[in-house]
């Protein structure tokens, strides 16, 4: 291709060379072939503009100009070639001397030029000085440099004013000749170019064929069209993923995998572009910022604040009087709701300043402390207790009722074998019942309201202690094996042979029962100075404690030794009204419950070891766990407290299940059960497991409410006790019955 063009150029140049030094003409023609139409048009305009100024100078064109013009004419009506050749002229005119010289170089130059401008679409850059005022070269022989850096010499201007004038007069082409300052040459415009200039001067489009008033096709109108603008169906390729893109992506993925491309690098901030302004700040200050407290919110206005409130919000006369009487701090509302027919008639709020001031005070004095609100499900706060069903056995139903008493049954006690039940009643009798058949086996009239009965816990003796008035009776009910009866008789009579009862402190008198009483089973009488309220046995069955509540004296508790018929008062000082006492089941401790506290005494060391605070107003009863480390205590203010002696002197647990005063409490000897009896006529049985592990607290679960007693004179259940071996509970009530719940 290149070869062809060059050879054709060569031919051309040879032909032209005959007429004029056309070294660059052919080069231009080559070049111009590559110009686009628009560029050419611009160029033409450009050149045209410069032309009139040089018109005069063009007059003195050399001979060669003719040849140039002929050359142009030669090239025909092709405007492109024409223009190019126009521009060539100047440079050719520059130096005649060089012409021959250059001729030789033409072929070479052409090749070079052609090569250099192969891909160029720039404007005319034969003169490389650029767009500068050409006056700057006024004093120089040249007007610039060509691409090779060689000077472009000014064409020799031998035309003077006269020549110019003549030229003007004679040359018919003068009007269309323009001077190119940059190259210093004159150019004669063709008809087309002139036409173009004229059109542009008229403000018309350069292209003749361009119709600027073509009818408009309204593709986009305000009308909603049913059909798409184009009816062309979508290409298939718009539905299938592009293979090339896939290829590109896979290449990128591969490159990333191979480590050739680093996935976008994170801008490291190591250079310290950003820094923590408060890093060096004191942490305590920052902590204070964190504890920011929002200002208290103003309550939202309600119907009271309305200018036209519903009538129920308006104050009645009484309410208004009350409002006026009240201290401003106590008022529910800081203003009186008023009714106006329209908003226009609402006067200014007289309290405004005051209210703002109050608000400021609120903000200023608001407690600067954060309330930590804990979101806890209320269900989670309830301890996980086992179901009562899993804690069986415990008594659930009333199985037997022991009827026979005619007064309220104050006290009951079960024999250590579990076969017999003794009960003492206000009707002055002590009854013995067979547990399994509820048959009353024996009735002993003791002649006074029985306050307390207690069966001797020693299984090898069969004795019952009964407290009534100021006497403690020892009964031998003879409801046991003959050996047992014998041994208990022996225990009672042991002292008889020895010295007469030593009346240690005079106030207590021991006496033998005689005659009729002896047949009834009475064996001993212990006369006390005051009314006895409670008797209780030591686990071994030899010692017996009796309680005579008296606030004024220190003679409230006596401990009797049965085998030696001795009585002693262990306390020399009055520590309060003694309610009940109990022996520790194993160790030589003695529990004394006064009105509000329980004291534990060590009988061997004769000192107080512990004092339990019950937090209740009036203790009614107390029971010691068979293990000895736990105590329950019922009180007249409906509470039942469980003490863990190893844990604390405060109650481990307070149970407030009863509606009325708790009258009696009891532990089961074997099963983990305890029960409380109350004036509300119910017995509540609770499960209370005690663990050997000191770290584990006792598990206390209320399991059953037992009802069966009829309320009599506002009294319900008076005493409660467990069967020694079975999970059965007995309760005695004010309705003169005893119930067995199994």
């Amino acid at each position: 291709m290149r070869g062809e063009t060059s050879s054709s150029n060569l031919k051309k140049s040879r032909r032209f060379s005959l007429q004029a030094p056309l070294t660059t003409i052919t080069w231009m023609t080559e070049n111009l072939h590559r110009h686009t139409v628009t560029e050419r048009a611009l160029q033409q305009i450009f050149n045209f503009n410069r032309k009139p100024a040089d018109e005069d100078k063009d007059d003195d064109l050399s001979d060669s100009e003719d040849s140039v013009y002929s050359g142009l004419e030669d090239s025909g009506s092709d405007s492109e070639e024409e223009e190019g050749s126009d521009e060539e002229e100047g440079s050719d005119d520059d130096d005649d001397k060089m012409k021959e010289k250059k001729e030789g170089e033409v072929s070479e130059e052409k090749k070079k030029d052609e090569y250099e401008h192969d891909s160029s679409d720039e404007e005319d850059i034969r003169n490389t000085v650029g767009n500068i005022p050409m006056e700057w070269y006024k004093d120089f022989p040249h007007i610039g440099y060509n691409l090779d850096g060689k000077k472009i010499y000014k064409p020799i201007r031998n035309k003077d004013e006269l020549d110019d004038f003549l030229d003007k007069m004679e040359n018919p082409e003068y009007w269309r000749t323009v001077h190119d300052k940059q190259t210093g040459s004159d150019i004669v415009l063709s008809d087309d170019q002139v036409e173009l200039v004229n059109r542009l001067q008229r403000g018309q489009f350069g292209d003749v064929n361009f119709n600027e008033y073509e009818p408009m096709v309204e593709f986009f109108s305000s009308d909603v069209m049913i059909h798409p603008v184009t009816n062309r169906p979508a290409d298939k390729r718009s539905f299938i993923p592009s293979l090339t893109e896939k290829e590109k992506v896979s290449k990128l993925v591969h490159a990333i995998k191979m480590g050739w491309i680093k996935p976008r690098r994170v801008e490291d901030d190591g250079r310290g572009r950003y820094y923590n302004l408060w890093a060096s700040e004191d942490s305590s200050i920052l902590a204070r910022h964190k504890m920011h407290l929002p200002a208290p919110k103003i309550p939202l206005p309600g119907h009271h604040e309305s200018y036209n409130p519903p009538p129920e919000y308006l104050f009645t006369d009484e309410e208004r009087a009350l409002w006026e009487q009240q201290d401003p701090a106590d008022r529910k509302l800081p203003f009186v709701p008023r009714k106006y027919s329209s908003l226009r008639q609402v006067p200014a709020f007289s309290q405004f300043i005051h209210e703002r001031f109050e608000r400021c005070l609120d903000l200023y004095l608001c407690p600067r402390q954060r309330k930590m609100r804990v979101n806890v499900n209320p269900e989670d706060l309830i301890p996980q207790l086992p179901k009562p069903k899993d804690l069986q056995p415990f008594p659930t139903t009333r199985s037997l009722v022991y009827r026979g008493h005619s007064g309220l049954v104050r006290s009951i006690s079960v024999s250590p074998s579990g076969q017999w039940l003794a009960s003492g009643s206000d009707d002055g009798s002590v009854r013995f019942w067979e547990v399994c058949s509820s048959r009353c086996m024996k009735t002993v009239q003791v002649g006074g309201a029985v306050k307390s009965v207690a069966w001797n816990p020693n299984p090898s003796v069969c004795l019952l202690a009964v407290a009534l008035d100021s006497v403690v009776l020892i009964l031998s009910p003879s409801l046991a094996d003959k050996q047992v009866i014998l041994s208990s008789e022996r225990l009672l009579s042991a002292q008889q042979e020895g010295e007469e009862p030593a009346e240690g402190n005079g106030s207590v008198v021991w006496s033998e029962a005689e005659g009729e009483e002896l047949n009834q089973g009475l064996r001993l009488k212990i006369q006390h100075p005051k009314a006895v309220h409670q008797v209780v046995w030591h686990a071994k069955g030899d010692y017996l404690a009796s309680v005579m509540p008296d606030n004024t004296s220190h003679l409230q508790v006596y401990i009797h030794q049965l085998s030696r018929r001795r009585s002693q008062n262990p306390f020399s000082r009055n520590k309060g009204l003694v309610q009940c006492v109990s022996f520790h089941p194993i160790r030589p401790y003695f529990f004394v419950a006064t009105q509000r506290s329980i004291r534990i005494y060590n009988l061997v060391k004769q000192e107080m070891t512990k004092k339990l605070q019950t937090n209740s107003k009036w203790i009614s009863s107390m029971a010691v766990h068979p293990g000895g480390d736990h105590v329950i205590c019922g009180s007249y203010d409906c509470k039942l407290s469980w003490f863990d002696l190893d844990l604390s002197t405060k109650p481990y647990k307070m149970l407030r299940h009863h509606k009325k005063a708790v009258r009696g409490v009891a532990y089961h000897r074997l099963y983990p059960l305890f029960a409380s009896a109350s004036d509300d006529g119910s017995v509540i049985v609770c499960h209370g497991t005690v663990y050997n592990d000191l770290l584990q607290n006792p598990l206390i679960v209320p399991v059953k409410v037992l009802r069966g007693h009829v309320m009599t004179h506002d009294l319900g259940v008076l005493d409660v006790t467990f069967h020694p071996t079975q999970p059965w509970v007995f309760s005695s009530g004010a309705d003169a019955t005893i119930c067995l719940f199994t």
Binding site: Q392, P393, S399, L400, S417, G418, Q419, C436, S437, S438, R439, M441, D481, K482, Q483, T725, Q726, T742
Partner: protein
């Protein structure tokens, strides 16, 4: 399912109907079925008088309409069979012990024949040993820790204490005579079981006499010859409430320690222990169906299989009582019937084939029922805290003071 094909069988020759399927309306109840059978029998035999029948459907008593029964039992086809209500006949004398420290012998008509007095305390249990002609032997156990063996001559109506069995250290709550009538077993509150000979002899067993010789002598003179136990079975940890002989070599005992134990009398060892969850008041064994029935301090009667090896298996529980079950007794001649007494004043007759509800509630007592029994001929007896002894025929009841 409006009609059901049914076939009727009976073991009673008098009431046999043709062995062909009958089409019966599904809604028919016992009374309707009974009418059908009566009609059939009348057609066969003009002299037939109307009888009320009961029906067993696959071993279960029919108590509702056929359709509902089938729905509950999951049966698709029914073949009812006739069961006759037998009329129990005459029986012999009844022996009772009571809290007034005496035992009494009654005729079935309710007349007291004899009062046996001798115990110093409440008589807890009584038992017949054997009858030979006009003399018979009987036993009474008492709270005074003795069991007395009496000989009763019915002709002269005289009773004589033959032996006084001493050895228990607690009240003797229960006695039971072995099937041969030569031995008996007693259970006591002192947790022991003792086996004694029931054969009266004229020799007094040697007893190691401790102190108080005169008093003891006085008693033996009063109450016949002293007898000591052949064997003592200990193992219970609580009072023994009931004993019985399963067969001639096996004794079964129930106790307050929630167990039923079966003992081998030959070796004196324990064979099986059945553990319950409540105190056992009473047990009964039926050699016909080889089941133990137990009554406990809850309201259930439980049936046990004493021969199971896989622990203590309650086969069935019969629940209808509302108080402690104090007495149960299997029918001596019927494999499925038992009678129970409870603290809720009711005596109930049960059929193990209809375990959901008792056959009959016998509401005669006005107070707690403490004992029930059958006579050999099938009369039911019950005694209670209202000081009355009732005998029941199967359908009619009669009360005796």
């Amino acid at each position: 399912m409006s009609q059901i094909q049914a076939r009727f069988f009976t073991e009673d020759k008098r009431y046999v109907v043709d062995d062909v399927p009958f089409s019966i309306p599904a809604a028919s109840e016992v009374q309707d079925l009974s009418n059908v059978i009566n009609k059939l029998l009348e057609a066969k035999n003009a002299s037939h008088s109307k009888v009320d029948f009961d029906f067993l459907v696959r071993g279960q008593f029919l108590r509702t309409s056929l359709s509902t029964h089938m729905a509950t039992e999951g049966i698709s086809t029914v073949w009812p069979a006739i069961v006759l209500k037998l009329v129990w006949i005459y029986c012999i004398k009844i022996l009772t012990g009571s809290y007034d420290k005496t035992a009494r012998i009654w005729s079935t008509e309710g007349k007291p024949a004899m009062t046996v007095a001798g115990h110093t305390d409440v008589v807890k249990d009584v038992a017949w040993v054997k009858r030979e002609g006009l003399t018979s032997l009987l036993l009474t156990a008492s709270l005074d820790q003795t069991v007395l063996l009496w000989e009763w001559n019915s002709e002269r109506n005289k009773v004589k204490a033959r032996h006084c069995c001493r050895g228990h250290a607690g009240s003797v709550d229960t006695i039971s005579v072995d099937p041969t009538g030569t031995k008996f077993c007693s259970g006591s509150w002192d947790k022991m079981l003792k086996i004694w000979s029931a054969v009266p002899t004229d020799e007094q067993d040697e007893i190691e006499e401790p102190a108080d010789r005169p008093r003891k002598k006085q008693k033996t003179q009063q109450l016949g010859l002293t007898r000591t136990p052949l064997m003592t079975l200990s193992g219970h940890s609580e009072a023994v409430s009931s004993v019985l002989w399963c067969d001639s070599e096996e004794v079964c005992s129930a106790s307050w320690d929630h167990t039923i134990r079966i003992w081998d009398v030959d070796t004196g060892g324990m064979k099986t222990t059945l553990t319950g969850s409540k105190v056992f008041n009473c047990i009964s064994y039926s050699p016909l169906c080889r089941r133990l029935a137990s009554g406990s301090t809850d309201r259930h009667i439980r049936l046990w299989d004493p021969r199971t090896k896989d622990g203590s298996l309650v086969l069935l529980s019969l629940t209808s009582h509302t108080g402690w079950v104090t007495a149960v007794k299997w029918a001596p001649s019927h494999a499925h019937q038992l009678v129970s007494g409870s603290l809720d004043n009711l005596v109930k007759l049960w059929d193990t084939r209809s375990c959901k509800a008792p056959l009959y509630d016998l509401a005669a007592h006005e107070d707690k029922v403490f004992c029930v029994d059958w006579t050999e001929s099938g009369l039911m007896l019950s005694g209670g805290a209202d000081n009355k002894l009732y005998t029941y025929r199967y359908s009619a009841q009669q009360a005796e003071a």
